[in-house]
Amino acid sequence: MSGPQPVAQSEVIAGARSQSEPLIKAGSGYLSDSLFEIAMLACGVCVLGLVALIIYELARGSTLSWHAFGWKFFFRSDWDPVNEQFGAWAFVYGTLVSSLVALVLAVPLALGVAIFITEMCPAWLKGPLAFTTELLAAIPSVIYGLWAIFVLVPILRQYLEPFLGKYFGWTGLFEGTPYGIGMLAAGIILAIMVIPIISSITREVMTAVSQQQREAVLALGATRWEMIRTGVLRNARAGILGAIILGLGRALGETMAVTMVIGNRPEIARSLFAPGYTMASVIANEFSEATGNTYLSALIEIGLALFLVTIIVNILAQVLVWSVTRGMPARGHA
């Protein structure tokens, strides 16, 4: 409040202005600013450099194998280190099948979870549920593998596979001795691992659909499920597809859990009970013991293929997801 203050104030202020020279003698800062910007730029360029380095290293390492076997490398299935004959088809097949099984199992569940959390869940439950699904994503692959070996595989061997063999064996997918270890186990554990990512991206994409879209459908007298189907899912279609493809990308590159339960035999069989081998698994198992340069080069070439495939898949997925979450104007407003 004013009162005795004004007098005291001007004395104080007069004291403040006693100097005419600036208090701070520091310089212009041009040099430091430039150096700093260069340093930060260097970090950014490192990111670019790393990807370039990856491509370079993989290409360099694969040349031997490429020269020896050419394109056909990926379509031959003889993997014979002793005679230095390498063909990666069994691994490509194994990767594709295990990922496909994983998606078939994961997509309905992941979508269900996403729909429940976003549209159906009571508010107090949302946070804990979302956190729990994120927790699933945080579990390391090796722990999934550990659990799969000692819990999932026995269940498959003793209960699920005999059941499937008995009632669905006619499809050809469930034939042969149920070892537990094999393609089905790999597919199931992969499914559990990709559910969180498909679910969380789907949630993101569904939340990005504007409230107006939902209200427009409800105003027409739709039930909640109809609103979800036509007001949300339809608009988020591209993004959901993107989420699924991101899940695929994750499944393709997954190594440890798959290695631990797939059986690691480069075989091609129709039955899901049979053991298999994936691109990531063969690298994991055989890289440190690869004798001979061609052997190593073949494994690196598999790594290069894995790299290229996952990149393309991930880019495609990103584009799809962005089309919904960024910059796409809401269609059909009142």
Partner: protein
């Protein structure tokens, strides 16, 4: 007799409402199904691992095959060493790249870096292992903790970069302007004001990246390689917790299986602590910093 119109409406109504209920049940069912493995995994980890978690386990090195007892002390220490190396590589570059993107990179070149960071994020970890093998192991002629650290450090970068950029962008422009108005140089403003304001969010990002790589096994298989004994030298093969769990899990020995569960339990506790701390920090620390 009810008029045809009414009963038509009622019938359609029932079917549609039925679908609605089914959909809800289906979605809730999916949630339950998904929660089952989560609970099962955590449950088993505790059930099977807790019994073996004792002082001996945490302080001893592995015993020779077949002998009971022994522990994973060297693996825990090795993981710490490798993660330390990884952080020294990943954290500065990640934060630097994030600063670049937020403060200088609002342009096409910045978009290229953002895109590349996302690409890097999606590279399978085993491929990163191959690269680290090529540039470190081959160059040195042997496996090493350094190689493992390099592999994990590369994996940390994209997560840290994106988190740093996001958090820095949340700092209101007026805070920077307040510093510029005082005659503070731009680099000083970025470090002492902007980064400081965003610091809890950035730390969150670093911890998330850390938690993610702490459990990685694949890239260590042929970089750090593993070791039965203590190792503190960065140029020697080193044990790691995740590697040890893997090796023991696929072995034929029950004794080692038991220890694998214990090791996995330690690993998951560390990761859950990190992830939960992140959540707690996010709900108050970050908001406080940018109000």
């Amino acid at each position: 007799m009810p008029s045809p119109n009414n009963s038509d409406l009622t019938r359609v109504g029932l079917w549609r409402r039925g679908k609605d209920v089914l959909a809800t049940i289906g979605a809730a069912g999916a949630v339950v199904l998904v929660l089952v493995p989560l609970i099962a995994i955590f449950g088993y980890l505790v059930y099977k691992g807790i019994g073996s978690l004792n002082w001996a386990f945490l302080t001893e090195t592995p015993k020779p095959v077949g002998e009971p007892g022994g522990g994973m002390a060297n693996a825990i220490a090795g993981s710490c060493l490798i993660l330390l190396i990884a952080s020294c590589l990943g954290v500065p570059i990640g934060i630097g790249a994030g600063i670049y993107l937020a403060e200088y990179g609002r342009n096409r070149f910045g978009d290229l870096i953002r895109f590349t960071a996302d690409v890097l994020n999606g590279v399978p970890s085993i491929v990163i292992g191959i690269v680290a093998y090529g540039i470190v192991v081959l160059a040195q002629g042997h496996f090493s903790a350094l190689a493992g650290g390099v592999a994990l450090g590369i994996m940390m970068i994209p997560t840290i970069t994106r988190a740093t950029e996001e958090m820095l962008l949340l700092v209101p422009q007026t805070i920077r302007e307040a510093a510029y108005g005082l005659g503070v140089a731009r680099w000083r403003t970025t470090l002492s004001i902007t980064l400081r304001t965003a610091s809890s969010g950035v730390i969150t990002g670093v911890m998330l990246a850390f938690a993610r790589v702490a459990g990685e096994t694949a890239p260590l298989l042929f970089t750090a390689f593993g070791n039965q004994y203590w190792n503190w030298k960065i140029n020697q093969p080193t044990a790691a917790l995740s590697l040890q769990v893997f090796t023991y899990a696929i072995s034929p020995f029950d004794e080692w299986h038991r220890q694998a569960w214990a090791g996995a339990l330690i690993l998951i506790i560390l990761i859950v602590v990190a992830v939960s701390a992140v959540r707690v920090a996010a709900s108050h620390g970050m908001l406080k910093g940018t109000s």
